[in-house]
Symmetry: C2
Subunit: 117 residues, 2 copies
């Protein structure tokens, strides 16, 4: 059983953007931290909701009909199947939760390799 | 589809301790905020892991063999079936995630009624 998970300490161990690191497992999901900056790709996940909690900084989650803006301490769930594009003007740190094995880009061919820290 | 969820704003809407409020739904789970103070009961959840993220303050999660101490920005997953008792010396604010319908005390007879805010 893992012990206390300090999210800032986990985030301090890497610099790469858009490369989620798994910090815990929860009911078949990966709980991940990620550093983001710039624009991600438009994508959707047909079989899972997409959990975003901002730990530091600010992001926009662009949807096809509007944009949801989030700052530290704010969260948003993108329902399954809904196209979205995360955008961070400056570096932001996020907590993500997705079923283990979910490709972060929506496509296994382009997904970041999942790493546990 | 709900919009931005500001966790501090949600927490400011109630004062009751050990009474989780659902702020979002995620893959069959309730994402909840809760204010805690004092000792909860010893319990376990036979069918689900138990997700704790401290948003403000500090808590101890007592396990039968040791205690896991958490402060703001730290998280811990209690594996399913593992007995635990959350304790907060002073008021603390937590983010919890549990499958919708999970009794917070481990027992439907004593569980807090789940409320959505």
């Amino acid at each position: 059983m893992a012990d206390t998970i300090n999210l800032a300490e986990k985030l301090a161990t890497f610099d790469q953007h858009w490369s989620p690191r798994t910090v815990a497992l929860f009911n078949g999901h990966d709980v991940m931290v990620v550093k983001v900056q710039g624009e991600f790709n438009w994508h959707s996940h047909p079989d899972t909701d997409d959990f975003f909690l901002v730990l530091k900084g600010e992001i926009d989650i662009e949807l096809r009909d509007r944009t949801v803006s989030l700052k530290a301490g704010e969260m948003f769930i993108v329902p399954k199947g809904v196209e979205h594009r995360p955008v961070a003007r400056e570096e932001a740190h996020l907590l993500l939760i997705e079923p283990t094995g979910t490709p972060n880009t929506g496509d296994p061919a382009t997904a970041a390799k999942r790493q546990t820290i």
